[in-house]
Amino acid sequence: MNPLRLGFIPLSDCAVLAVAEATGTFRRHGIEAVLSREVSWANIRDRLAVGALDGAQMLAGMPLAAAAGIDPVAEPTVTALSLDLNGNAITVSTELWARMVEADPAALATRPITAAALRRVIDEDRRHHRSPIRLAMVYPFATHNYELRYWLAAAGVDPDRDVELIVIPPPRMVEALTRGGIDGFCVGEPWNSLAVERGCGHVVVTKYEIWNNSPEKVFAVTRRFAEREPEQHQALLRALLEAAAWVDAPENRPAVARILADPRYVGADEALLGASLSGRLRLGPGGATATLPDFHVFHRYAANFPWISHGIWLLVQMLRWGQLASPLDVLATARGVYRPELFRAAARSLGMPVPEIDLKTEGTHGAPWILRGSEGSIEMGSDQFFDSRVFDPNDVVAYLAACEIRSPQLDLAALAARNR
């Protein structure tokens, strides 16, 4: 039989896939799998669509966008496993940081830092008729896009009117920041750390701070593969779960950095990769190093569970920002993509405790908490948003109605009709 081909993008959070291959975990679970290093999310999508890949690391929004019919190549993909939580950050140029410090030092004194200081800079630029601040993220359906927008909007900055948002691939971010093409970005590691090391960027806020333990990448396969090869799919999930548990252990993180430093995987400096993987993030050139033990979460807190509520949150962002113009049933769409029952089967066969619920209210736990699951209880992390908002996946219309800044295209009445 031909080996399975699994795509990934060279980023710190390809760790679970890289480790599963490098440590022979796939083979131990009876699978022949070959990883394929890809350079763009569009390539991953297209190679899955034509069958050149069987599965891949994907931005959590990508399978949902395809299911909602807003991605040009809509090969249906499903996910039964999340690869990680957190792991991104918003970094601005040292010039913009200096302007923020000047504009509103008080707003930068307490963490999590809000966009209040940035808003003052934007207001000043508008008064002087200067061109808008330009910020980059990595893909239209990327979590990076949504967390950047969430963070801006919470401070009253309209991401579609007050700034210019563009897409730049991660390996070009630091170059774009140095050459002055952009003023800031939201990206995964090691690119924030690299900008700080090069002396051109300052980390303003991490994804963890914006929304504690929020979803990041997923492992997706084509629906075709999931239906035709359920046994292989289960074996893949078991291998990835085992690898995720290994990657998550703090004592293994230096070894993870060593594996990722290999040019076959990320090919970046081992020390740079190791720092943020071990929860140490230098926030500014010559500045202090912050200790953020949950900067990267790969397994604990039920991180690998495909929460339907996470899928709904992402669909709600697509609605909020006008990517999804026609109303849809968010629960049914998320259920078509996220497959908790497949996760449970794999986790149970490894004796791991699994959540019995598919949805949870996000933003109500400000501290670690215990989730009762089958086969034992699960220690969960905080799931708070930095602006203290609560996301109830069963009432998305009320949630969107309370968003002051949102796409004018959003028709709440029509959405309500589809989500009773």
Binding site: S40, W41, R172
Partner: protein, 194 residues
């Protein structure tokens, strides 16, 4: 007469870009620029205003084009559309060849399809050329190895050139491996012993 289709080529490989440009110009297109992947691709597209962007799939900048269909309220930007939205066969061909194309502005997909087809053909042609070159290079390497191994056997066992070659071939057949692999072993063993 319709004005020629204005094409922007984004390719890390200048040789291949030249090949595509020649083909496009021959078929009546105007190639407005050839670029390597770059951080300011979006600004460049807004400046150049091509009708079509042909992009090498090895450029991470493809994701930048994926986002350009979004309408922003700050300033008018070129609208970009993936050429092969509805046509799975052309996606397959494009992915296999390693090239992708995007329509900028309002040009109909039908009018630009020949551009994509030409790009696919040239990418495939280039791939075949690279493969031929690589296999020619490796067969030359292999011939050199076999010559050296033959020389070692002739000297150490007092064989004629023909006998040395037949011995190597028999060893390769017995062990179900390639002649070059056996030659490499003979050379390694000789280096170890001498």
């Amino acid at each position: 007469m319709q004005p020629p289709i204005r094409v922007l080529i984004v390719d890390e490989n200048a040789g291949r870009a030249g090949l595509i440009e020649a083909g496009l110009v021959q078929s009546g297109c105007e190639v407005v620029a050839q670029l390597m992947g770059r951080a300011d691709l979006q600004a460049k597209i807004n400046e150049i205003q091509p009708d079509v962007v042909v992009i090498d799939m090895e450029c991470p900048d493809r994701d930048t084009l994926e986002d350009m269909s979004r309408i922003t309220r700050t300033q008018p930007v070129a609208t970009v559309m993936f050429v092969d939205r509805s046509d799975s066969e052309s996606i397959r061909a494009a992915v296999a060849a390693g090239v992708s194309a995007y329509v900028v502005g309002g040009l109909s997909v039908e009018r630009v399809r020949p551009v994509l087809e030409l790009a696919i053909a040239r990418f495939t042609q280039f791939q075949a050329l690279q493969r031929e070159l690589a296999s020619a290079r490796s067969s030359l390497e292999e011939r050199k190895l076999v010559e050296r191994a033959k020389g070692i056997l002739m000297k150490s066992r007092g064989l004629s050139e023909d006998e040395a070659f037949h011995l190597l071939r028999r060893m390769a057949m017995d062990r179900k491996t390639r002649l070059a692999a056996i030659a490499r072993e003979v050379i390694a063993a000789a280096e170890l012993l001498l």
